[in-house]
């Protein structure tokens, strides 16, 4: 009996070890190298809701839409606005009217030419779409001046207008009208480098190169986004060559990939900033908030929460981004100091008790447990309250929390948009509830300030205030890890996980 | 001339489990002649069924062990046969009627199927012939043959036992072992079924071993009788010897004493004192001595030999 058990265990152990030993060793069943491939399989982490730029709501749909559609303008990797569908533009002196001059060599996948009417149609769709309204509300409307000239009118002078037009993906009016919104969602017709072929629900989205693309046809002809939701399976698919490009690789897998000679890796700070909001309407005493700042070791938290993979930052902007400054109050990790502050303020150990609400997930739980342990050391009790996504959303407007999870996409060239959301009293994601006229005034001014340097200075002021007032416990920027086949060349991936397959090619 | 059909010599069977070893049958001898019937009588646990199952070798194979003895059937020692050869005898030359007709028939097969199975196994019959024979045996046991496509649950207890008898008789066996065939039936049905067995046995000239705890049943049916107690045969002989003989084993006397006698106006029965010993803790000497009204010193010390009085065997110190 014992013998049998140990035999079985042994067999399983061997299987496991041999299977695991595989890490990074080349498999022999690679594709023949003689002819350069023209296909590319990209890992897609989860199924999509819509491929229509008007209605899509999740961030990871954006990178598929980018392949199939052209935007009016484009944001370059270093956050400069550059021409795209619009060759050039004029801005009226009051900053309310933008006139765009369109290229005349752009054709939709259905063969029709992209005209000013299509742009106007797209703007109208964007403005009436609930998914877009929260970003595009500064825009009032658009009119076609002629076939290749469009005038977009703003509601007020808005600093980020050209960022908005960089997200304005032009849809074919004819196709959109013929299909109707519902069918366009799953049969998108754009003018981009890739043409939509097929969407097998839960499996894959297939595209093929647009041979009439205005920047010349792509070298990768057959493009497939393969849907895999399990990270382990996803990484195996990368190792077996079933997928060629995988962005958002977990840290452990990324280390494995680095030792695999067939794979190329790329790691950079992403655009998602994580923090823990302090509800300042409940924790009104600045001294408590300051004490909490001193009680948290950001390095430790990074290790506990994300195996040290995050890029630690006390402020929600990285160097080079709008609103970045070195001149802010930094709280060093010092438990004794934290205790002293509380003692001086007259709080006895155990007197303070708070609740931390968060969306139930493994990383959020680790974050909570770490915070709980640290606050406990300075005599503050913390109750953890994990919630379903829906319940958590409902808890926010009611302000029924002392601490809550925060995470926001920061666009380095357009910090104003995120700051407004986080810190303005009208902000839709203001979970710190710290309302002052000063902050509102600065942000209102930044919103209307067209001069980049002036706007940068305004936003730096906000960066200083939010640290001074200790509104949140900083965490880190997530790191965007990308792994791809070594044979793939000219791969460039933006920190926000956007890339243009049009530029990629296979080396001989 | 009487011809011996079955001869059991010195059979010893034990049941061995992890906890205990039980001597179920202890060195018994039995003879059965062609065309005759033998009744084996005894209380529950006396070893009657074990003896029967030893003959067709269907003892629970993992726990039961035949330690010694031989079972000669038609001049073959059954205990030496291969399982394959034994299968040819089961249901064909030796068949068995079981105690509980409710559970002895397969609930998911039709009566026809269950009777036909034994024919298919042993007879070289074609389909038509099998069907004909099934009808025949059903008629034999008094079941209208239009019920042959029904399932056991559609029959009453007595009818089920008739089906059991039909299965047992289908291949015209030389030996029929009936293990308490009527115990589980209603009293009113018991007599019917028993009469039928008796009648069929004499008509078909089949030899029979009838196992029962009911002396009345034996008196009605059997030519010879063996009385078993605690794995031993304490007395055996012709029905006449047992029911009318002068000498008896005290246990046999006790059995008779526990039958109500309508001629004498008795207030109560005279059951045997005490209970049968646990088979795993048998007493020394004569196994009946703790309950025996005539118990002597020697009974406690020594197991008695069997003594024959002209074919009437008694195993008791009183007669030695």
């Amino acid at each position: 009996m014992k013998k049998i058990v140990s035999l079985i265990l042994l067999v399983l152990l061997i299987t496991t070890i041999t299977a695991c030993n595989q890490n990074g060793v080349a498999t022999d069943n690679d594709q023949p190298q003689s002819v350069a491939r023209t296909d590319l399989n990209i890992l897609q982490f989860g199924d999509l809701n819509s491929l229509n730029p008007v209605t899509n709501t999740s961030a990871f749909e954006g990178r598929l839409i980018l392949q199939m559609f052209d935007s009016l303008t484009n944001t370059s990797p270093d956050f400069e606005i550059e021409p795209w569908v619009a060759e050039s533009w004029d801005i009226s002196d009051d900053g309310l009217e933008y006139t765009f001059y369109l290229r005349d060599d752009i054709y939709f996948h259905n063969g029709e030419k992209l005209t000013a009417d299509d742009v106007v149609f797209t703007v109208e769709r964007y403005l009436e779409s609930p998914a877009r309204a929260s970003s595009y509300f500064p825009m009032q409307g658009a009119v076609a001046l002629d076939d290749s000239t469009v005038k977009i009118t703003m509601n007020f002078p808005f600093a980020g207008t050209l960022f908005l037009t960089s997200g304005l993906y032009i849809v074919s009016e004819t196709a959109y009208t013929e299909l109707g919104e519902q069918d366009f969602n799953i049969n998108p017709v754009g003018s981009g480098a890739y043409e939509f072929v097929r969407w097998d629900e839960g499996q894959q989205i297939v595209m093929k190169a647009n041979e009439n693309y205005h920047l010349g046809p792509a070298q990768i002809k057959d493009l497939t986004f393969r849907i895999i939701t399990d990270p382990n399976t996803a990484f195996v698919a990368l190792e077996t060559g079933d997928v060629d490009l995988y962005t958002g690789v977990r840290w452990l897998d990324f280390e494995l990939a680095e030792s695999n000679p067939n794979l190329a890796t790329m790691s950079q700070p992403g655009v998602s900033y994580f923090y823990i909001s302090i509800n300042c309407e409940r924790i009104t005493d600045l001294r408590i908030r300051q004490a909490i700042m001193h009680a948290v070791n950001l390095d430790e938290m990074n290790i506990v929460v994300s195996e040290g993979s995050g890029t630690i930052s006390e402020i929600p902007v990285l160097e080079g981004a709008e609103g970045y400054t070195k001149d802010f109050v930094s709280y060093e990790y010092n438990i004794e100091k934290a205790k002293q502050i509380l003692e001086d303020a007259g709080y006895a150990p155990g007197e303070l008790e708070y609740t931390y609400t968060y969306i139930e997930s493994a990383t959020n739980a680790k974050r909570g447990e770490y915070l709980q342990a640290q606050l406990n050391r300075i005599g503050i009790n913390l109750i953890l309250s994990p919630m379903e996504l829906g319940a958590w959303f409902s808890s926010l407007p009611a302000g029924e929390y002392d601490f809550t999870t925060g995470g926001l996409t920061m666009n380095p060239g357009n910090t104003e948009w995120s700051y407004y959301m986080m810190f303005h009293s009208n902000g839709t994601f203001n979970t710190m509830n710290f309302f002052t006229e000063e902050i509102d005034e600065i942000l209102d001014a930044a919103r209307r300030e067209l001069d980049r340097d002036a706007r940068d200075l305004l936003l730096q002021q906000i960066t200083k205030i939010i640290r001074e007032e200790a509104l949140y416990i900083p965490n880190f920027f997530t790191t965007l890890n990308a792994v791809y086949d070594k044979g793939l060349a000219n791969v460039f991936i933006n920190p926000n996980d956007y890339f243009r397959v049009h530029d990629f090619y296979w080396q001989e | 001339m009487r011809e011996k059909l079955l001869e059991i010599r010195d059979l010893k069977v034990i049941y061995k489990t992890d906890e205990e070893t039980v001597e179920a049958v202890n060195n018994i001898d039995l003879d059965l002649y062609k065309g005759e019937s033998l009744g084996i009588v005894g209380e529950t646990g006396a070893g009657k069924t074990t003896t029967a199952l030893s003959i067709i070798r269907l003892l629970p194979y993992r726990v039961a062990k035949i330690l010694s003895g031989e079972i000669i059937f038609n001049e073959q020692n059954l205990l030496e046969l291969s399982e394959k050869d034994m299968r040819k005898i089961r249901g064909n030359n030796i068949s068995m009627i079981f105690q509980d007709p409710m559970s002895s028939l397969n609930p998911v097969l039709t009566v026809e199927d269950q009777i036909a199975e034994v024919l298919r196994l042993h007879m070289d019959y074609g389909k038509e012939m099998i069907k004909k024979r099934v009808k025949e045996v059903l008629q034999l046991v008094g079941i209208p043959h239009d019920r042959m496509f029904e399932y056991p649950h559609q029959f009453s207890g007595g009818m089920k036992q008739r089906v059991g008898i039909a299965i047992a008789l289908a291949c015209d066996p030389d030996l029929l072992i009936a293990d308490e065939p009527t115990t589980a039936l209603d009293v009113t049905i018991q007599a019917q079924v028993l009469n039928m067995i008796d009648e069929l046995q004499s008509r078909l000239k089949t030899s029979m071993i009838l196992i029962t705890h009911d002396l009345g049943v034996v008196a009605q049916t059997c030519d010879n009788v063996a009385i078993m107690y605690a794995g031993e045969i304490v007395e055996s002989g012709t029905a006449k010897d047992i029911f009318e003989g002068e000498r008896h084993h005290p246990y046999t006397e006790g059995l008779f004493g526990s039958i109500p006698n309508l001629d004498i106006d008795e207030k109560r029965l005279n059951p045997i004192q005490g209970v049968m010993p646990e088979p795993s803790m048998l007493p020394s000497g004569c196994r009946f001595h703790p309950r025996c009204p005539h118990c002597m010193d020697i009974c406690i010390a020594e197991s008695p030999q069997s003594k024959s009085f002209d074919g009437h065997h008694i195993k008791c110190h009183l007669f030695l």
């Binding site: 299977a19 498999t27 609930p130 970003s135 629900e201 379903e388 | 067709i56 249901g91």
Partner: protein, 308 residues
Amino acid sequence: MKRYIINRLLLLIPTILGVTFIIFTIMSLTPGDPGRIILGQGAEQADVDQFNRDLGLDRPFLVRYVTYVANAVRGDFGLSYRTGRPVYESIRNRFPFTVTLAFLGVLGSMIIGIPLGILSAVKQYSFWDILGSVSAMFLAAVPGFWLGLMLILFFSLRLGWLPSSGVGTYQHYIMPAITLAIPGAARILRLTRTTMLETIRTDYVRTARAKGAKERTVVWKHALRNALLPIVTSIGVSFAAALGGTVITEAVFALPGLGTLVITSIRMKDTPQVMAAVLLLSFLFMIIILLIDLTYGFIDPRIKSMYR
């Protein structure tokens, strides 16, 4: 018999109504609204409210429920909140994979579990029995995702024999089916062993032996058929469960099945999608249970005689 089936089918109506009511209530009572979840944290409350109003979520619960049922009776199960497409599309796209996988998985667990269970019972306490019981214990305890991953690592990555994930060829189903079959096989093995041990000791099996039947006939004809009832139940329930709950297997092998759809839809508070999927699954579940009951009748005539 016919009347019995009709009665059972009629019973489906109140049961399914009950199921819809429960699911609808749960979906309505749990906090969060689709507008906020779909439009995200950055959306203005006014837009979220408009989105929810467009979905008719501002009407009272009972009105929404009655409308839903009235539409569903006419065959209109609504549009998915998430994709804005008719809910049957996703179900139609995914159902074939789920059914194939569930069928193969259950078939696999039968093919492995029943013979080994019989072997274990017939050769009780032998080497085979111990091997069977120990491996059953072990296999039942193996988590599906681990088993799936090990299979992938071994057969896809190391040997390169089978595709690691996705669908397309029959080969894609081999590993998922095994992953799904193994715990089921362990369960069926143990169940078969237990029930076989019981039936093998019954009087009618002894009767069969007394007829001179071969051991193989005794086991397959007499014992197994009587032991089948609980096994059939278990298989039917496993199949029904596999239809609704292969989420982990689906994720590990990147199969576009119903389980993933239901989970995603619940998270997104996509009530019409959840309702349609659950309706289909509960309908199938009850049909399967009915089929199990009818199978009982074929296996055991005693039960058949009760279907009046």
